[in-house]
Amino acid sequence: MNIVENFDLYAPRLINKKELLSAGHRACQGCGEVLAVRLMCKALGENTVIASATGCMEIISSMYPTTAWEVPWIHVAFENAAAVAAGVEAGLKGLRKKGKIDDRYIKVVGMAGDGGTMDIGLQALSGAMERGHDMLFVCFDNEAYMNTGIQRSSGTPMGASTTTAPAGKISSGQKTWKKNMAEIMVAHSVPYVATACPSYPLDFIRKVEKAKATKGPSYIHCFSVCPTGWRCGSHLAIAMGRLAVESGVFPLYEVENGKYKVSSEMPKKLKPVKDYFKGQGRFRHLGEAEIQVIQHKVESEYQKILDKVKYLKAWD
């Protein structure tokens, strides 16, 4: 049975039908990130306030005098989404406690891209998580500064060619391994950390719902395919996300109170990373030897997660 044809039958059980990020925004065709944001909003529901960093999702959604946001939304600057979200949370808490606003629970969510989370926004995020604000932070990671023109970030994967770490006669693009942001969040002892990808919409929605139900800080690292920056077909965003997961390049897992759990979407046997690389212009320059180095590293990183699942116990 085709689930799309029977959308009205199945959807209400799986997904909130109300659109909180409306159509008509200015995202590129095939953008994996805006799809993820839309799903996140559906999972969060109306009682949400979002603080967004500067970046693609901000400029495509809030061109004055229009807005795509059906939930309260604030943008201040690039590096401070987590601090703004922390302020929103504190402000609402203070007002609610004093009876100045109605007594409903509102989830505060900070969101930023990989640059706004892992590079320039890391300090503000670390502070907000450490202080224990009741908020979710979601990193929509498209693995480079796409809004400014595909410059490398600490989220750019090894070997990818970007406009500031290009492949050249003596360079194979990004020289460093991708910063492990989820682990940095786990190290902050926040009660819920997860990785997700909109290519697995129900898994992503379930994780957002879990984060929403978590009292205190939570973090989701959402892998967001950018056909424009990755130089792949705009019809391939979902497929690329799936290949990243299936190859172990971006494993899906959760860490609840320190206990690791690999998501059921992860295959028993990983696909070779070259299957994932071959559809993308940013990896086109890589030779067999370089791909092998990355292949080994991907496997060992995934093994680390499996080991943590096996050996680490929950905190409580």
Binding site: E46, N47, T48, V49, A51, E58, I59, S62, M63, Y64, P65, T67, W69, E70, V71, P72, W73, I74, H75, V76, A77, E79, N80, A83, V84, A85, A86, G87, V88, E89, A90, G91, L92, K93, G94, L95, K97, K98, K100, I101, D102, R104, I106, Q123, A124, S126, G127, A128, E130, R131
Partner: protein, 391 residues
């Protein structure tokens, strides 16, 4: 009548803010603001202020957090100094652009480098064009009064702009002064709860901080400029209301023996009282000297400055910051602009004083006036001087 108490000014500022029913404060410690931060946290810890107190990891996050909280409709406060204010710099025009009534205390301190923790105005001057209302206080009592007034000014429906209260670091913040706190019931009457224009609440979703390109940006800048200019009237009205309720009057420009003075001196901040003593000494010697004290830095009180300077032959402007490679200190530039179109304007001299906490005594102020006495007022010496510099 409220009774007078002896208290450190920084502590008193926190007490005054505590009288304002704030809902949230975010602060990051920096000398010499730290006593404001510490005492605010004491008040929250003792339940004397019912507010969320967020101990952020930087001044950048302090300003970000109060912006977020102010967006929810909360009454918010933060305080900083020097490098902290410089770190906040990026966010200051955003706060004013979003028309959020944030109140910030600034314990003014020199900006690095080299590192210097003492008082001058080099921290606030780079923030001049950020769209904030900027007030200077001369003593502890003013620090209390203006910290309370700031909320009412900021939140007024015809203003809706952030306000900073400049309090000279150490020279004021760390002094113990006899102070009078306004009666809490009267403060409640003077400062009713904030009525926000829009809030971040699901009951009525709004978008704050939208992206605007060339088709709207200029209009937004013009709107902010108009709002800031128009705020002067509201500020004066609120000061009049304060005078009626609490008996202490405030004006954008204060004068001291200036009416008939041939030589005027202009100060901003805590040095006004020292300069007054110098004026008295000069008058005793037969010198026709007077003083202008600038309280309102932004919006700049052009009319009041013109009125105060209209009878003088010479005007000495003191600056506690340097505009490197520029025409003189930042206050000097504004005063010159204010007087340029006047048919009868005084000759203007600029002295850079009190940088990085360097003491400026009564003798120094007398020296400045005596130095310009022999100058021919028809031939303005169009330069500025670092007073007392070793060369």
């Amino acid at each position: 009548m409220a009774k007078r108490v002896g208290m450190e000014v920084a502590v008193a500022v926190a007490e005054a803010v505590g009288q304002c029913d704030i809902d949230m404060a975010a602060v990051y410690p920096i000398t010499p603001q730290s006593h404001i931060a510490e005492h605010l946290s004491d008040l929250v810890a003792d339940g004397k202020i019912d507010a969320e107190f967020v101990t952020v990891e930087s001044e950048h996050s302090a300003m970000s957090a109060v912006i977020g909280a102010s967006g929810t409709g909360a009454r918010v406060y933060t305080a900083t100094s020097s490098q902290g204010l410089m770190l906040m710099h990026e966010l200051l025009p955003i706060a004013s652009g979003m028309r959020l009534p944030i109140v910030m205390g600034i314990a003014n301190r020199a900006v690095s480098g080299p590192l210097n923790i003492l008082n001058d105005h080099s921290d606030i001057m780079p923030q001049r064009d950020s769209g904030w209302i900027s007030l200077f206080v001369e003593n502890g009592q003013e620090a209390i009064d203006l910290s309370i007034q700031a909320f009412k000014i900021a939140e007024h429906k015809d203003v809706l702009l952030p306000v900073c209260v400049n309090i000279d670091g150490f020279q004021l913040t760390h002094m113990v002064e006899p102070l009078e706190f306004p009666d809490q019931e009267l403060v409640n009457k003077f400062l009713p709860p904030r009525v926000p224009y829009a809030t971040l609440h699901p009951s009525k979703p709004v978008t704050m901080g939208a992206f605007a390109m060339s088709d709207y940006f200029t209009e937004m800048m013009k709107a902010k400029d108009e709002a800031l200019k128009n705020s002067k009237k509201v500020i004066i009205d609120i000061w009049d209301e304060w005078a009626r309720m609490f008996g202490r009057a405030y004006k954008p420009v204060e004068t001291y023996k200036a009416e008939d003075a041939e030589i005027l001196m202009l100060t901003m901040g805590s040095m006004g009282e020292t300069a007054e003593v110098a004026i008295d000494a000069l008058r005793a010697k037969g010198v026709s000297a007077g003083l202008i004290k600038l309280r309102l830095w932004r919006p700049f009180p052009f009319e009041e400055i013109r009125a105060a300077a209209k009878n003088a032959k010479k005007l000495i402007v003191t600056d506690r910051a340097v505009s490197f490679g520029g025409p003189g200190g930042p206050v000097f530039s504004e005063i010159k602009s204010a007087l340029y179109h006047e048919a009868h304007r005084p000759a203007i001299y600029n002295y850079i004083i009190g940088l990085g906490g360097r003491d400026v005594t009564v003798k120094d102020f007398i020296g400045m006036v005596e130095k310009v006495i022999p100058y021919n007022a028809e031939k303005t010496v169009d330069t500025y001087e670092f007073w007392g510099v070793r060369e």
